[in-house]
Symmetry: C2
Subunit: 446 residues, 2 copies
Amino acid sequence: METLADTLQELLAAQHWDELKTFLSQKNPIDLAGVLPSLPATECALCFRLLEKPKAVEVFESLEIDDQQTLLAGFRDEQVRDLVEHMSPDDRAYLLDELPARVAKRLLRMLSPSERQATSLLLGYKENTAGRIMTPEYISLKTYLRVSESLHKIRKIGLDKETVYYCYVIDEQRKLLGMISLKDLVLADPEGRIGDLMHREVVAVHTDDDQEVVAHAMKKYDLLAIPVVDREDRLVGIVTHDDVMDILEEEATEDIYRLGAVAAPEQSYFKAKIFTVATHRVGWLLVLLLTNTLTGSIIMDQNTLLQSVVALAAFVPLLIGSGGNIGSQTSTVMVRGLALQEVTFSNAFLMLLREVGIGLILGSLLGAMVVIWAYWLQGDWLVALVVGCSLVVISTIATFFGGLLPLIFVRIGIDPAVVSAPFISTMVDVLGVFTYFQIARLIIFR
Amino acid sequence: METLADTLQELLAAQHWDELKTFLSQKNPIDLAGVLPSLPATECALCFRLLEKPKAVEVFESLEIDDQQTLLAGFRDEQVRDLVEHMSPDDRAYLLDELPARVAKRLLRMLSPSERQATSLLLGYKENTAGRIMTPEYISLKTYLRVSESLHKIRKIGLDKETVYYCYVIDEQRKLLGMISLKDLVLADPEGRIGDLMHREVVAVHTDDDQEVVAHAMKKYDLLAIPVVDREDRLVGIVTHDDVMDILEEEATEDIYRLGAVAAPEQSYFKAKIFTVATHRVGWLLVLLLTNTLTGSIIMDQNTLLQSVVALAAFVPLLIGSGGNIGSQTSTVMVRGLALQEVTFSNAFLMLLREVGIGLILGSLLGAMVVIWAYWLQGDWLVALVVGCSLVVISTIATFFGGLLPLIFVRIGIDPAVVSAPFISTMVDVLGVFTYFQIARLIIFR
């Protein structure tokens, strides 16, 4: 990357336009997209003018959405129209979505009628649905076509389509009848009929299916593209493989943020304003802070107990800390298991039981160690015993709630990933302190 | 899924073999793979015998590794050989890896010489490298071939290859010269020469590159396959798109587990024995427990301070809890940012500064609230002020270490995801308690 940017700047500084043009034409569009936005605005616009049109579009499509916006603002109108007109409809819909409504409208008006129609179709569907992320540019065949005729059709119109590797077979009402891959077509007898060769069991999604459903179906069946049908089973578009990996990554990021008690951001965290980020995080912190005030109240209630055995206070952080850690482990494993469908409703109860069992084992192991250490620290066997027993009970409670809550949340339709490490730690803080003092009363003040 | 299993069992119970055969031939192999293992062993083996050979192999390849092992144990030798001989080399290498060495050897001996060679080649590379996950079955072309001759070659040998969508151009020494897609071939003039049409800038990986590198390259450049070359730049295999999504998911799972302080498991957590799982988790817990004993020591040291102001003890869980939560948020965002390469060494310092700034803002906000609440709970303005100031300091410390540690770990070559929520909470426990008592001494015992 370093050298690519350096060479570009050297060529720009030397004003060797022909050399620059050749250089740009040889580079991978995705690598160029990684470098161009870091150039000054005029030089970046200049590079775009030197790129051949199809490649310029490819580079533009590979840019981050905010770099696209900055660039468009600096371009002249014809250049903007040229770029946006040739973008694939799904990438264009995504861009228009993010632009201020006024700019988006003006852009939409610049497009040719057919491209405008394709874009408006996508913009009519809700965000993050199959309808929004699909492209209406696919190859459709009819059952009566011969293989040779189909290949001829692909040769004629293939260049404009987002993928030619999967072709879809439809009837007069555009109902999806089957699919045939380019591999099948190339390997088949040229005289064969599509209707005889096509696969009839086609995995398809509906326009209003969530993008997560689309990605998981494509991943499960190892597809390069998936057809999108409307409520009357008419083919309206396809989602191609390049979108799927982005979606899967986006979903993983969302889960990871939730597990860290961070609200999933609209844009990259590392580009958002610092106060926006703070407001995104303060919500959960407030809830957890308020919950944690309960811990304080419980401890204040035990004022007299604490005054007579001050040593008890020393072990509070250790107990609730370990409990929180054990609980986070359980909730992490449960949340990921639910996301990958390894935990389902049929085995949920068993999995919960397993986790509680693990909690008992871990609590007993760590509890035994802690008794010895607690005695060594303050020399009272009774207090040491209280600490050890508490750890066993707290660890069991932590695994129980760490396992149960994600299941409950999924059941009532909330993303289970909200059962984050901070969430479960705070909950264990409250329950743990309460348990600890109850056990202390039982053992020390029998 | 329900109905598929039901229909299968009805047909099996009725012993309608012909109907069952037709039924099986119509179903998607991946759906069958989801249902067959749940049948009794003999009925499952029967279904496999009724499947046509290529489909049986496809179903078998789609099974989980432990189901594959169980099935193989129940099959007769010819059936085992038939299945394993026709598996694709990368899936077969993965299976052989997991089998007991004795069984794997016996299986390897059953294979035909060419298949045995292909498998041994893969098994010679380290686990999780490009060499291990590639397949040696790809289409190679020469520069002097015409498009029509190339398509003829693909027709002749294409059926046995894992993908025909990307073809690779090599010279006499098998050195990689370029690539051409099936789309290019179909759309090109039949008389054109491969050498003139091929793309010369090919993104390739080395046999010993990590599978993560492979997946990220394929994702970045939206590839359907990526060529794998050895140290002399000779083409030895390709990795296809179906493997990438599994790798990306595996990597996300590993990160999520690490962030939850759970050691990444060899096999699914939900199938491992309960004691295995406990041993996987106890390691981190022990480290964190030992660290947390420091918190206890610090509190014991403040015995006299605590005895005179017992109210101080009540706010320990709240302070270290909030600090831990703020720290986990920061480490989560940092770790994910590093994984997605949004945080790099060039912007690391700025990002750290941002996080500390966010920590100050969050600490001040929450600190102001806590002062009021702490006064209301125990009626002493001085103690309330100590709690509020401590929260500001602790929150800043938490974001500093939550942001710094992942960066340090990446620098010294450790996965930054080990800076889990439990890790950072425990660290904040120790530092937080210490800070709290220092501030208490400063303010109350001036």
